[in-house]
């Protein structure tokens, strides 16, 4: 994935995602025309529901948070070339642990209770991600499938607790009891949904930015992602770093789940995440593995979600699922853009090599053209 992580032209990292988002929205507009809806009306309603006033903005921020946190964690691991595609599961076990602490230790004072509950969520997420991390570090098992399998194990574990030990008599939908009021993240702007979790989110963007771009930890992750063998030769303890990177990655996702419980729903609800952890992978890529890029991408996804929820109430006959179509298309276009960029780069390199060879008169040994015969581009 070297070329993708370190595209030489930094401008492409901004240009490609922006063009991709515009193209995705244009494609969705065509789709809306095709089914006989007016895309301008739909986009206006979405804009109003996502960004129209203070309340709409707070909805967008609320829907951004879980995606943002999970995506930061995914990016952190991806810097080391690790695919944590199990954030969705880490999110669920994180929410489970946070809820457990909030329900079983209500006597702690409010700030301590919130802190303890969120720390428990982060630890649970870290623990869940540790399994694929350890398997990768010690046995060389690819973390892709193991982390994916753990998603469904985590979700079913949560379902078990909600339908078994925590089941509420008379409740129609499996959910835990409400957490005590002292455990709820307070709303920080009256009359909106904006809760203290947004501040935590911003702090974590800064933390992830520091970790990824300005810390030895981040440098080591980058080294492993660039060339694992070279990193080992340079003295990086690769196995330890892999385990730490996965755990840190899972901690972000676990925290995302915990904050969703304490900040948004007030209790753990079965199936509360409509795939935040999977969308987060798309967000990490759209944000080009940069903390602020990810913030932007997560806000976009949050706004699409908030906006499309508004569509349903606006009764335009346009279903909320167009946000998922737009999200999928946006990242698909990013992949196309990156692919194009690499094809152009390769052509240029090949041409430059040919030119160099042509200008150099034959002198004994033939030059070896630096055209890759086999290149494992694992972008």
């Amino acid at each position: 994935m070297n070329w993708q992580l370190r595209t030489r032209a930094a401008g492409l990292n901004v240009l490609i995602p922006l063009v991709a988002v515009v193209l995705a929205l244009a494609t969705v507009a065509l789709l809306l025309v095709a089914v006989g809806s007016n895309p301008l009306d739909a986009y206006r309603d979405m804009w109003n529901a996502a960004l129209g006033d203070r309340f709409a903005l707070s909805t967008t921020v609320t829907k951004t948070m879980p995606r943002l946190l999970a995506a930061l964690g995914i990016a952190l691991a991806l810097r080391a070339g690790l695919w944590n595609i199990g954030a969705e599961g880490q999110l669920y076990v994180g929410a489970l642990a946070t809820t457990a602490v909030a329900l079983y230790a209500p006597d702690l004072g409010a700030p301590f209770l919130i802190t303890a509950a969120l720390v428990a969520g982060a630890l649970a997420g870290a623990g869940w991600a540790l399994i694929p991390g350890v398997l990768r570090a010690t046995r060389g098992v690819s973390e892709v499938i193991t982390s994916l399998m753990l998603v469904y194990i985590g979700i079913q574990l949560t379902n078990y607790v909600l339908e078994g030990p925590w089941s509420q008599p008379g409740s129609t939908f499996p959910s835990s009891p409400y957490v005590p009021t002292g455990a709820s993240l307070p709303v920080i702007v009256g009359g909106t949904l904006l809760n203290a979790g947004a501040l935590v989110g911003l702090a974590l963007v800064a933390l992830a930015w520091f970790l990824m771009s300005h810390s030895t930890f981040g440098l080591r992750l980058n080294a492993i992602g660039g060339n694992e063998r070279a990193a080992r030769v340079a003295g990086v303890r690769v196995s330890l770093m892999i385990v730490l990177a996965m755990a840190a990655s899972g901690a972000f996702a676990g925290l995302a789940g915990g904050m969703e419980v304490l900040g948004v729903r007030g209790r753990l609800v079965e199936g509360f995440s409509p795939g935040y952890g999977f969308e987060a992978i798309a967000i990490a890529l759209l944000g080009r593995l940069n903390a602020f890029g990810i913030l932007g991408a997560a806000l976009l996804f949050g706004a699409l979600d908030a906006g499309s929820a508004g569509l349903q109430t606006a009764a335009q006959g346009v279903p909320a699922s167009i946000s998922q179509v737009a999200e999928g298309l946006a990242v698909a276009y990013v992949l196309v853009g990156l692919g194009l960029a690499s094809i152009i780069q390769r052509r240029r390199a090949a041409r430059a090599a040919l030119r160099a060879a042509a200008e150099q008169p034959a002198s004994g040994e033939p030059d070896v053209l630096p055209i890759p015969t086999e290149s494992v581009v694992d972008s």
Partner: protein
Amino acid sequence: MNSHFFAQLLVATVALATPLLLAALGELISETAGVINIELEGMMLCGAFAAVWAAHGSGSVVVGFLAAAAGGLFLAAIHGILCLFFRANQVVSGIVLNIFALGLTSFLLATALGPTTSPVATLHSLRVPMLADLPGVGKAFFDQNVVVYAAYLMIPCVWLLLNRSPLGLALKAAGERPAAAESLGVRVTLTRWLALSICGVLAGLGGGLLALAAIGFFTENMTAGRGFISLAAVIFGRWRTTGTAAAVVLFAAADGFQIRLQALGIVHIAPQFLVMLPYLVTLVALAGLMRRMRPPSALGVNYLSS
């Protein structure tokens, strides 16, 4: 639990296994050639939607199944363009296409098809004379629709394809040593396109079967993780035809058992643990606690021909 319980369990297992089997065999072929499809779930979903949409429009189950294959192929083609042409990472493409497929099918359900559409015609079952009367197993195996019989046949066909045919050799070469294969005249990218297309068609048919075998309508996210279970079956089956088929049967039986237990009101086995079984055993198998697992060497690794 009497023989009646087990006869019913068997019926449920065959019904649950067939869509998984089609998708898993497709994924096996694709992974053998080095292409992993996390979007198997999305392929099934597209297949299921296309099946209902086309069957609704045409009134024909056959057209429905053709459309199901096309639906799966549609998503496979996007995966191929992104990964085989633009050489995007296969995992990212798979995740993104799952989101896209869920969004698109839900969108089209609400707009083009309409959620209140009445059920379309479903497949008739074709009783095999004599065999269908066998006690215990007859109804489960020999009183099924034609696609189920075709799925049975797929197991030996895929085995022959992978183990006894020149094409199978090319697929394995593309998935193990693409560079060496190319130097021996195997067109790796083309071979991978072919394997991916077969996977799209089979997964689409699996989704179509889900929609057209009995219920005749499409609901949002109706595959509900079956694509991921099929993906797990290929791994738990250690990338072999017989292993994959056996894993599918095991996973379907666990699901059928869970459903039967709940239907009977037996609750002292928490159903969630049976539902998580496919993922749990696959995880344990991957962890190497059982037998050594060896995926195709170049699985998920893109290949750039010179």
